[in-house]
Symmetry: C2
Subunit: 426 residues, 2 copies
């Protein structure tokens, strides 16, 4: 049991309340909850001068790529992939992925993210690190068959193994999903079998869609259809739930497909800008009532996992591009990073409410950029740098007044440096 005393809530920051947590849920929000019969082992957290926010949900990551931070910037995409990312990825081992994941988990915890949606490989090591971190996650094995049948069978087999393994863990914080990389790297057969497997295990699909103009052209050449039209035509969206990362270059017809199917978007504005991919038509998607969430993408193209940067950028970028300061207001971008993300991943979190998962972040209000202590949501969207104080995930305290409770920070940093050396020294 945890009692957070005298804390302010983001949507009602003018008065203080207590939040009572039992097991992994928020069971009561109100005044003077200490007076109730608390269990003896109840942990008391002083929430004075702090704001309680829902933990952020990062809906598109490749966590172990923290180790690729800064290795290649300011270069064309194909050079980035061919000369740097793929060369380094070829040298990855389970151990390297494990430490890279832990580094990413620390970064997320310390910037207020409590849930992430990942796609990568060496999944056993990612699972292990994620469980140790205490974070909530949806994990998928990233499948690429490059239209090769043998590779396809291997990829699908690995995905099914990972799904079964995660189910067998019986850890409510970790859920499996399926990760076909993208329509230009996966065969029609892989995509079709992915859909069937998604239905069989009732898991969501996490896929890259319409990130660059080139890949859209490639799919058009291959299939004579735009990517969403192509997937729609092969029944990919029938009976599945898809989280589509990027969605930068979309036709109106494709927007209609997104709208009329169980498809959510993960908007990754920083990665899309940094790689020179473009700017997603978010105001248009919102007008169509499409569920848009936020993602950082991997640290190779961001170069961090601080989702607060995405919140601010998603609010300001589309104002500047459309010359309209009213689009994507602070309520919208904050909701993208919390409620919408949770909804897409199927976790009952993203808001602080009785009965919801206790994924709660406390932020110290005595920071110059949060003063005056009014219009707090605006401050979190437009002024906050992500430095949070206390992080609770599923009723477990992961960060206590700035200190990690479960992970050995120094050791992770030291091991991450060592692993990085293995990737770059050859």
């Amino acid at each position: 049991m945890i009692l957070i005393e005298n804390v302010r809530l983001i949507d009602n920051y003018k008065s203080e309340v207590d939040i009572l947590i039992e097991k992994d849920r928020i069971i009561k929000i109100g005044k003077n909850l200490k007076d109730n019969n608390l269990k003896k082992d109840c942990t008391i957290i002083d929430g004075k001068n702090k704001i309680a926010t829902p933990g952020l949900v990062n809906t598109h990551t490749h966590i172990p790529m923290t180790l690729f931070r800064g290795v290649a910037d300011d270069i064309p995409l194909m050079e980035w992939l061919n000369n740097h990312i793929w060369k380094m990825e070829a040298k990855l081992t389970g151990e390297i992925v494990y430490w890279g994941t832990l580094l990413g988990c620390i970064e997320m915890i310390k910037s207020g993210t409590t849930t992430f949606n990942d796609m990568y490989f060496f999944i056993d090591d990612i699972i292990k690190a994620t469980e140790e971190s205490g974070l909530r996650a949806t994990l998928s094995y990233g499948m690429i068959d490059l239209f090769d049948e043998e590779k396809r069978e291997k990829e699908l087999k690995e995905s099914e193994r990972v799904i079964k393994k995660i189910i067998s863990l019986n850890n409510p914080k970790i859920k499996p999903s399926l990760g076909p990389h993208a329509p230009y790297t996966c065969s029609k057969e892989l995509l079709t079998e992915t859909k069937e497997m998604a239905k069989k295990y009732n898991v969501p699909i996490h896929i890259h869609m319409n990130e660059t103009i080139d890949e859209v052209k490639k799919v058009k050449e291959m299939t004579d259809k735009l990517p969403f039209e192509y997937l729609h035509s092969i029944g990919f969206f029938d009976g599945t739930k898809c989280i589509c990362a990027h969605c930068v270059h979309l036709s109106d017809e494709e927007i209609n497909i997104i709208k009329n199917n169980n498809i959510g978007v993960s908007h990754n504005p920083i990665s899309n800008l940094k790689l020179g991919s473009g700017i997603a038509p978010i105001p248009k998607l919102l007008k169509n009532n499409i569920v848009v969430s936020l993602g950082t993408d991997g640290c190779g193209s961001n170069n961090n996992l601080n989702l607060y940067e995405e919140i601010k950028l998603s609010s300001i970028l589309h104002k500047g591009v459309s010359l309209n300061p009213t689009v994507v207001d602070s309520n919208t971008s904050f909701k993208m990073a919390t409620e919408n993300g949770a909804k897409l991943l199927g976790f009952k979190s993203g808001v602080i409410k009785e009965g919801y998962l206790a994924d709660i972040v406390l932020i110290d209000l005595k920071k110059p950029y949060l003063i005056p202590n009014e219009n707090i949501k605006s401050h979190l969207v437009y002024s906050f740098n992500g430095s949070v104080d206390t992080v609770i995930v599923g009723g477990e305290i992961l960060l206590n007044e700035g200190n990690l409770t479960k992970l050995d920070e120094d050791k992770v940093y030291r091991m991450a440096e060592k692993c990085y050396r293995k990737l770059v020294d050859w």
Copy 2:
């Protein structure tokens, strides 16, 4: 005397050096400087596991607007000005401006900015607060005559008073400048007399230029010329040095005028996006060898003073807009925020070199978003959140391992809250 021991330099981060500071200058950089004859009162700073960077230079601010943080977002520009900003500005007093400035100074110090270029009113109070903070600044009184002769005389008189006052302070950290607001709010006579005054006192001019499409149109209607063409035609740039904020909407002819005169640009990407003003053609300005620096603008339109956000955004935004990941690389954006800003404001700072001003910021490298500790400049541009450790300005320590040495943080926050209440409660 200050000795920073065993610190890494941003452009040569693989080995450790010592930095020796005497009075307001860096006098020596090298190994084992402790062995030299240090003065007895030399302060030793442990630079182990830290990177030393030049302090950032914010070339466009309205510091007291920290108190307007979050009061009005996501609304059209004229509504923002008429219903919020101007109403609050009408209630400002010297005392309110003083505390708002101190709040801004704390924010800048804690995010690694050591110099700022401001334009506002109640300048005496801004000067007082800036001197108390220990920051370096160029300060101007913001002149607006709205084409009224009487107002013009008053504005120019106030500007001249401020210049004389700042000169008489004999504080090498504070320099005067002239701040005619913009060509659409200032008469031709005001602009002409400003130019003469700038030459008389040898001070730079700080002005808003081409921020929105509407104002460019307005100047075109008024003068039949585009803003830079207009100023050029009245000789505004003859013998003056101008720092022009925004420069979002520019014709090729105007870019030529900037290039061929002593004009520097203050790029304010966050403010320009948030207000829906647009995106400045920075890659084009850089191609023309125009000196581009970075500014946050006021907290009414940003909503913070963390110049590290501007550094990252200026590097990623133009890549995304031009679909070219090679433009505005990390060296360029970091230089904009340091060397270029210092150059435009005429301070010998912005680099860590013997003989230069000791405006130095130390950053703790043991942060998850700075690991692996390689490609440090990339990390500062693309991954850092601005939380710095130690700040030295002109040989004076303003922040020591996160603690302010000259300002009473709690008192400033308390007074800022009080002042804010005076602005919004009526």
